[in-house]
């Protein structure tokens, strides 16, 4: 069915179709729209969910853990400082191997306080043990929400999943998207049969013991394996999704990459604009393509290096800054992926859009020109560049 919805409404609609047993909510801009819409579904009896309105994001994540460990499907959603506030518990959710799904509406982290989009919130917990899947638009946010549970609950994975959508740009923009019938979504997701639920008097279980040097390492080793396995499962679920709903999803999307010598790498909503710019630049005769990372954690290192093997100059666009003195998080991961696999490639970082700063087609055009120049001259002036900041 074609429906006009905001990104937040699209995610809430997926949550309605998922119909989780427990949803724990706490408001924060720009995520609030998801939980408000979901509260309407609860109020009108359209879901069976126990809807908990919590005292903080920290408590929301705690209650979600309590429910998931109990043996039911449990969700929450957040943004920015809310995600930062729940961070301690975010890490515990992954460590307890609980298949929680959490939409994160990307917003800049304080300070100074800012409500608009960048990816610093999600990037702040990029190695917390959660799978992170980015969306380009409302359609993808919806589709990713539908796929997330099957990934999280796969026995080889058993890890929580964050699906992200850019604050305001996707969350508040009205778009037309295809939604699927409730029955089909329900069938696609299937039933969740928890292995060791807390609520099962005949088989009591202890969650969260004190784990010393004799076993902690083994538990972390298992967790690392779950993340490695996730790559295969994300692709399997993507193929199953395509079969059912006719939309294809993998670890990343390649756009006009077949003969490309230059390429852009982006995350999230910027991909839409960037694709249009790639088309325009192609008309000028540049052999340029684009890669949109969908699955940021686990990071598709090998696959990415393979897709980039013919590329001479690569522009990595980061909508967040890593304060490590060497550029943004995506830039560093991409460089690490290429190390030892492609020695010839020049990789340049373009940090943009912090705190909701607009990124225009012209900005991206300039990036394309920049990497073309690098290709012609063989010289990189600066490996980390700031796009759209007043110099």
């Amino acid at each position: 069915m074609r429906q006009a919805m905001t990104g937040n409404e699209a995610v809430a609609y997926a949550m309605k179709q998922i119909n989780p047993e427990v949803v724990a909510a706490y408001p924060i801009t720009p995520q609030t729209g998801i939980m408000q819409k979901f509260a309407d579904y609860v109020a009108n009896g359209q879901v069976d969910t126990e809807f908990l309105t919590m005292d903080s994001e920290h408590s929301a994540m705690s209650a979600t853990i309590g429910a998931s460990a109990a043996g039911v499907r449990a969700m929450t959603a957040t943004s920015s400082n809310g995600l930062a506030y729940m961070w301690e518990i975010v890490y515990i959710a992954a460590s307890y191997r609980l298949p929680i799904v959490m939409p994160v509406v990307n917003r800049a982290l304080s300070g100074p306080i800012n409500i608009h989009c960048d990816h610093s919130d999600t990037m702040g917990c990029r190695d917390s043990g959660w799978i992170q899947i980015f969306s380009e638009n409302s359609q993808e946010a919806y589709d990713n929400a539908v796929q997330a549970l099957r990934i999280a609950e796969h026995p080889d994975v058993m890890l929580p999943v964050m699906i992200t959508l850019d604050g305001f740009i996707i969350s508040h923009a009205l778009e037309t998207l295809s939604t699927y019938e409730d029955d089909k979504v329900k069938k696609f997701i299937g039933n969740y049969i928890p292995k060791h639920p807390l609520i099962n008097p005949s088989q009591p279980v202890t969650y969260g013991p004190l784990d010393f040097f004799d076993y902690y390492f083994e538990h972390k080793r298992q967790q690392a394996e779950g993340m490695v396995n996730a790559k295969k499962v994300i692709q399997e679920v993507g193929r199953a999704f395509e079969k059912e709903f006719n939309r294809s999803y993998g670890l990343f999307e390649e756009y006009r990459m077949a003969d490309a010598e230059l390429a852009l790498i982006v995350l999230g909503s910027t991909a839409g604009t960037a694709k249009a710019v790639v088309d325009m630049v192609r008309e000028k005769g540049y052999k340029i393509g684009l890669i949109k990372i969908r699955c940021f954690r686990p990071f598709p290192e090998e696959e990415l290096a393979e897709a980039l093997k013919r590329i001479k100059v690569l522009a990595v666009m980061d909508r967040s800054l890593g304060f490590n003195g060497v550029g943004g998080p995506l830039f560093n991961d991409v460089r690490a992926a290429l190390f030892g696999r492609n020695a010839e490639i020049k990789v340049v970082n373009y940090v943009y859009g912090l705190g909701g700063r607009e990124i225009t087609p012209n900005d991206i055009w300039n990036i394309c020109n920049n990497i073309r120049d690098i290709n012609l001259t063989g010289k990189v002036q600066s490996s980390v560049n700031y796009v759209g900041v007043r110099e």
Binding site: E50, M54, D55, G66, A67, A70, V205, Y207, P209, L210
Partner: protein
């Protein structure tokens, strides 16, 4: 209330082999609380002595299901579990009537867990929150908490040449909880096991949140020989430092009200953490502590009569 003989026939929910100190109050309290329950339990626990000592991987002392998430969120985490239970009940997927108990020390309940406790009480989850109050952060090495009595020598409120230990009076957590207008709140002591276990029974029958603040003597932090744990709990009650009372639907009732209370000195002098108070320089603190206890006692008596009266005129 069942007799000790009847209770002894019930299963132990907290198995031995835990690593709590010899004579630990929390061990006694958790045993009494779980033994008073007639239904299957799901227990949550804040980080603290009880949690770390009863679940050292690969061992657990818990024969019920047990959930520990972190220090500050036991009540919030158990809120999710209780909500999941309601969802499962609604769908007919669980037949048993399960009860939910959250344990935390004073650090995890008075201080860092205060917000998550308040939220859980306000939302009305059917769960019993037990605070085992040993009056300091014992698990991290006896740092002062908002439950630490005035005058106590702790590692972050040490007595010294210029200091007599902690300056502040303890937070009245039970009063804070009562202010949430929950159906049942109480204070109890392991010395009065019958009273404590009756309160747990009552609390678990309430269709909503309930709370019991239980004094939990700590040989290490209070500095006394472990064999005296029950004696010290009893003295805390008999001196009026720890009042036994319950608040049912807003009506206060005193559960221990002797004609004569013992002087607070008798409780203080048995504990190393107060030893420095028994010097001429600090004598005035002893006097102030006695006045504090008297004032709290009178206040409780008044609350009992006022709320009882108000209840009659309803």
């Amino acid at each position: 209330m069942a007799s000790l003989k009847e209770l002894s026939a019930r299963e132990e929910i907290v198995a031995p082999g835990h690593r709590l100190c010899p004579g630990c109050g929390a061990a006694i309290v958790s045993r009494m609380v779980t033994k008073a329950a007639k239904n299957p339990l799901v227990v949550a626990c804040a980080t603290g002595c009880l949690e770390v000592s009863t679940t050292i991987y690969p061992y657990t002392s818990w024969k019920s299901s047990f959930l520990h998430v972190a220090f500050e969120n036991s009540a919030a985490s158990l809120s999710g579990t209780e909500a999941a239970y309601r969802a499962l009940k609604k769908k007919g997927k669980i037949k048993e009537d399960i009860r939910f108990i959250s344990f935390g020390g004073d650090g995890g309940t008075y201080d860092i867990g205060f917000q998550s406790l308040s939220g859980a009480l306000e939302r009305g989850h059917r769960m019993l929150v037990i605070c085992y109050d040993n009056g300091a952060y014992m698990n991290t090495g006896i740092q002062r908490s908002s439950a630490t009595p005035r005058g106590a020598d702790t590692t972050t409120s040490p007595a010294g040449k210029e200091a007599y230990g902690k300056k502040e009076y303890p937070k009245d957590l039970t009063a804070c909880v009562v202010a949430h207008d929950i159906p049942y709140a109480a204070q109890a002591s392991p010395s009065h096991w019958n009273d404590l276990m009756k309160k747990v029974e009552k609390a678990l029958e309430v269709d909503g949140p309930s709370f019991i603040n239980v004094l939990s003597p700590c040989p290490l932090g209070w500095r006394y020989p472990g064999e005296e744990s029950i004696e010290l709990a009893r003295l805390a009650v008999e001196t009026g430092f720890w009042q036994l009372y319950e608040v049912e639907n807003g009506v206060y009732k005193m559960n221990y009200n002797p004609k004569e209370r013992k002087p607070i000195r008798e409780w203080l002098e048995k504990q190393g953490r107060f030893r420095h108070l028994f010097t001429p320089a600090n004598e005035h603190i002893l006097q102030e502590l006695q006045e504090y206890v008297d004032k709290k006692w009178d206040r409780l008596l008044k609350l009992c009569s006022i709320t009882e009266e108000a209840n009659k005129t309803k």
